[in-house]
């Protein structure tokens, strides 16, 4: 006796927007531009688009199909496919849990920067004064004001993972706020999520468009755009380019976390997910490219500003050392004068060698930064030089917030949906209480990332928790669907849902191409890890004013190992557990090994579906 039917999206548009909101994440804004820059600008689009077709879209299609067919979260769906494989779902839930723990810290940072934008002078625009008011703070002098604001005033970072410290009040409050919002958005499951995604999916595009116009009209943005679009085709010969393209597509679409399965499980049975899969993948990649253009316009502006201030400093240095009239040297003929003065006054010029800087626009542009560094340091540096910086800052960080929150919705749904599929949970705990439990748990665990050394743990989670294990999960998924469940059964299910069989192209991609690609990537990463030696991280050295590479201590490495092993081992351990239970109780019939609501896989759907809207 069912108390209530499975909730559905109010209309297919909500589902598409939810997928877009989930897939378009912070990685589109900060990882893709970095990869573009590293791997030869416009040329990177070639491997990227090829991988999208060969790997991204088929796997996305597969996950949506499974979710829509089984109408259960990841644990239930995979258990329905085979009772031994519920571990895949469990691994997905665990990975989503790790992701939830640290991802909201990014939203907390966005809140922090957003709130700090409401000042007449942006706090990252200038260095604060030191203790006795004689000059700027030393750490800030050695680094830049934006770096100082991020590492000292936002994180109050310690000098290594071993050095512990207290929590940062601002971070704690912002993290609390981030979780409050996440809770409110996922409170009633798809009923609340479905409404929120109208905003979180569309607002970022509004801001990106505004930034595109602003960016393109900035002085020097053309340098950045030119830099991006000049393809360096020789990069295509480097295998790392292809690996990075495949990895980026993979993570960007959010495969393997169970979020897509969860979202699709709330669909109508006959929803046309095939077209939606293609549309969402295209929108996601299109957004990456769009964000790349905006980022490079800002990059170009920032690099030009830095280059010109370098030229200005060199000019003043020459004027002051050689006591020449101001109008003789301009920014354009600094280079010429450097040579002239070197030949006419060699001893004096030699005395300058310690202070004279190399001003190189290409080097400024080539200064690739990824991750939190790009979003928070580089972008805020670009913003502070714009006219009316407070407005641009508010817009930008609000956009980061909507993007991040949109992705969090998917992450939390990926945890809540499979949990609610268990009868024991759905009968005794209401969905509001379950959401609250998950959010409070993640908040309390996440507080450890707000400590002084918390950022190093954050980096560890970011690099290892939801990385390599996803390849394994999705590889197992695609192999199971293609071979264990059987591509013919899968084909029949799709035909049942959509009314037509999937074309041979989908089948070839799912059976042969995607698994082969994933296997190659998986092996590549294993070899990389083995050859890479001790894992390292970048620690902020406040005396040098920059990051230094340090090795993880033993307990750090053990933790990394735990993170990787805990998710991967879910699959074999769960299979073993099911096998032992079956042996212990041979009389019980197959489907009810795990006490779930009856999955549709074992029930031929009635023809009533045709009469429904």
């Amino acid at each position: 006796m069912e108390k209530d039917a499975r909730p559905n999206w109010e209309n297919p548009m909500q589902f598409v927007l939810a997928c877009v909101s989930y897939a378009v994440g912070l990685g589109n804004v900060w990882r893709f531009p970095y990869l573009c820059q590293m791997h030869g600008g416009g040329g990177f689009l070639i491997p990227y688009l090829i991988m999208l077709v060969l790997e991204g879209v088929p796997l996305f299609y597969m996950e949506l199909a499974i979710g829509q067919k089984m109408r259960l979260g990841s644990i239930g769906a995979w258990s329905a496919i085979s009772p031994y494989l519920g571990g895949i779902g469990l691994a997905s839930v665990l990975t989503s849990l790790y992701l939830c723990l640290y991802y909201n810290i990014l939203n907390a940072w966005s809140f922090w920067y957003l709130f700090n934008s409401f000042q007449s002078v942006l706090p990252w625009a200038e260095c604060p004064l030191n203790a006795n008011m004689t000059g700027p703070d030393e750490e800030c002098e050695r680094a830049t004001p934006t770096q100082y604001f991020f590492y000292r005033q936002t994180l109050n970072i310690s000098s290594s993972i071993d050095e512990t410290g207290g929590m940062h009040l601002g971070q704690v409050l912002c993290l609390l706020l981030a979780w409050v919002f996440t809770f409110l958005f996922t409170l009633r499951g798809v009923k609340s999520t479905g409404k929120v995604v109208y905003f979180t999916a569309t607002f970022p595009y509004v801001v990106l468009f505004i930034y595109l116009i602003r960016g393109l009209t900035l002085h020097g943005s053309a340098n950045g755009i030119k830099f991006m679009f000049t393809p360096k085709m020789e990069q295509l010969a480097d295998p790392r380019t292809w690996v990075n393209a495949a990895t980026q597509i993979f993570y960007s679409l959010g495969l393997g976390f169970g979020s897509l399965i969860a979202f699709a499980s709330y669909n109508e049975y006959n929803n046309n997910f095939e077209r939606q899969a293609i549309v969402v993948s295209m929108i996601n990649s299109g957004t990456s490219i769009f964000a790349c253009i905006v980022t490079f316009a800002i990059y170009g502006f920032k690099a030009t500003v830095n280059y010109e201030s370098c030229l200005e400093r060199t000019r003043m240095l020459l004027l002051n050392t050689f006591d020449m009239a101001e109008e003789l040297i301009t920014q354009d003929n600094v280079g010429g004068w450097l040579e002239t003065l070197n030949s006419t006054h060699p001893e004096q010029f030699a005395g300058l060698s310690g202070v004279l800087e190399e001003c190189d626009l290409e080097a400024e542009l080539g200064n690739a930064v990824e991750g939190a560094g790009l979003a928070f340091i580089v972008y805020s540096e670009g913003i502070k030089n714009m006219p009316l910086p407070q407005l641009w800052s508010v817009l930008y960080f609000f956009m980061l917030l909507t993007i991040g929150m949109g992705s969090m919705l998917g992450n939390v749904t990926a945890i809540i949906t499979p949990l609610r599929d268990f009868k024991v949970v759905s009968r005794n705990i209401s969905i509001e209480a379950l959401s609250a439990l998950v959010c409070v748990f993640c908040l309390l665990m996440g507080l450890s990332f707000t400590t002084r050394q918390g950022n190093y743990w954050f980096t560890m989670f970011n690099d290892y928790a939801a990385g390599f294990s996803l390849f394994f999960i999705v590889l197992v998924e695609v192999v199971v669907v293609s071979y264990v469940y059987g591509i013919t059964r899968f084909e029949k299910d799709v035909e049942d849902m959509l009314g037509r069989k999937p074309s041979w192209l989908w089948k070839v991609l799912l059976v042969a191409v995607s698994p082969a690609l994933l296997l190659c990537l998986f092996i590549f990463y294993i070899v990389g890890y083995i050859q890479g030696g001790t894992p390292t991280y970048k620690a902020w050295d406040k005396d040098l004013g920059r990051s230094v590479v340090m090795e993880y201590p033993v307990y750090g490495q053990v933790f990394i190992g735990l993170l990787l092993v805990s998710t991967i081992s879910c699959i074999p351990l769960s299979a073993l557990y099911t096998y032992c239970r079956r042996k212990a109780r041979p009389a019980t019939p197959e489907p009810s090994q795990i006490a779930l609501r009856e999955p549709d896989a074992w029930v031929v759907p009635p023809s009533e579906h045709c009469s429904q809207e």
Partner: protein, 216 residues
């Protein structure tokens, strides 16, 4: 007589000028960056501007020492360059062979720095007294950090929203309970797959929205 006086004055002037050299320990080097600061509205540096500088500096000395004997003639300038940079020393008004101590001059300049800058439409960075560090203005730091205010606003709004939601959900069931009952009885649609009977109105048992229980 007049000739002797002139010779005497000339000698004094020469002697005094000897006091202003590059290596003097009591003097400062001044550097102006007029074109950098003012761009199109830059004025040309000439004798009159130099006179203004010396007068301003004399003013600064008067302000600091409260001694009205300082004059333009007390300020000696030398080593002018194209850059617009020069050295200056301050003569003691009571004894024209003595120079005022460096520290005293520095104190006087620091006290009236803003007035000196304003006279030339320049700032601490563009009218540099080398070896006199600019006094940095105390930055304005409000009592409550601004981010806390913004945070307070947002979390206040969120809490208000939550309270409104809770209140409406508490009030809701009281009003909606009647409707709910009607729905349960009148529909029976999909609540349990059993066809509704002995109820008011016609019910369409074929319109089940829970397909899971409809078996073939």
């Amino acid at each position: 007589m007049l000739g002797a006086l002139l010779v005497l004055l000339g000698t004094t002037a020469c002697l005094a000028q000897d006091l202003c050299t590059d290596e003097t320990s009591e003097g400062f080097k001044v550097r102006l960056s007029i074109k950098t600061a003012l761009g199109q509205q830059a004025y040309v540096w000439n004798e009159s501007e130099m006179f203004l500088f010396r007068a301003t500096l004399a003013f600064a000395m008067r302000q600091h020492f409260k001694n009205n004997e300082y004059n333009v003639s007390s300020i000696l300038v030398c080593n002018e360059t194209q850059r617009v940079s020069f050295h200056f020393v301050v003569l003691d008004p009571s004894d024209s062979t003595q120079l005022i101590q460096k520290t005293a001059v520095e104190a006087a300049v620091r006290k009236s720095r803003h007035r000196i800058n304003s006279a030339f439409l320049l700032s601490d960075g563009t009218l540099e007294f080398l070896q006199i560090p600019p006094t940095l203005a105390t930055p304005y730091s409000p009592a409550t950090p601004p981010w806390l205010i913004a945070f307070g606003v947002v979390i206040g709004a969120v809490c208000a929203g939550i309270i409104v939601m809770l209140v409406s959900s508490l009030l809701g069931p009281k009003k909606g309970k009647g409707e709910d009952d009607d729905e349960e009885e009148g529909g029976g649609v999909g609540r349990n797959g059993i066809a509704c009977d002995a109820l008011d109105g016609a019910c369409n048992g074929g319109f089940s929205d829970d397909d899971r229980l409809t078996q073939m």
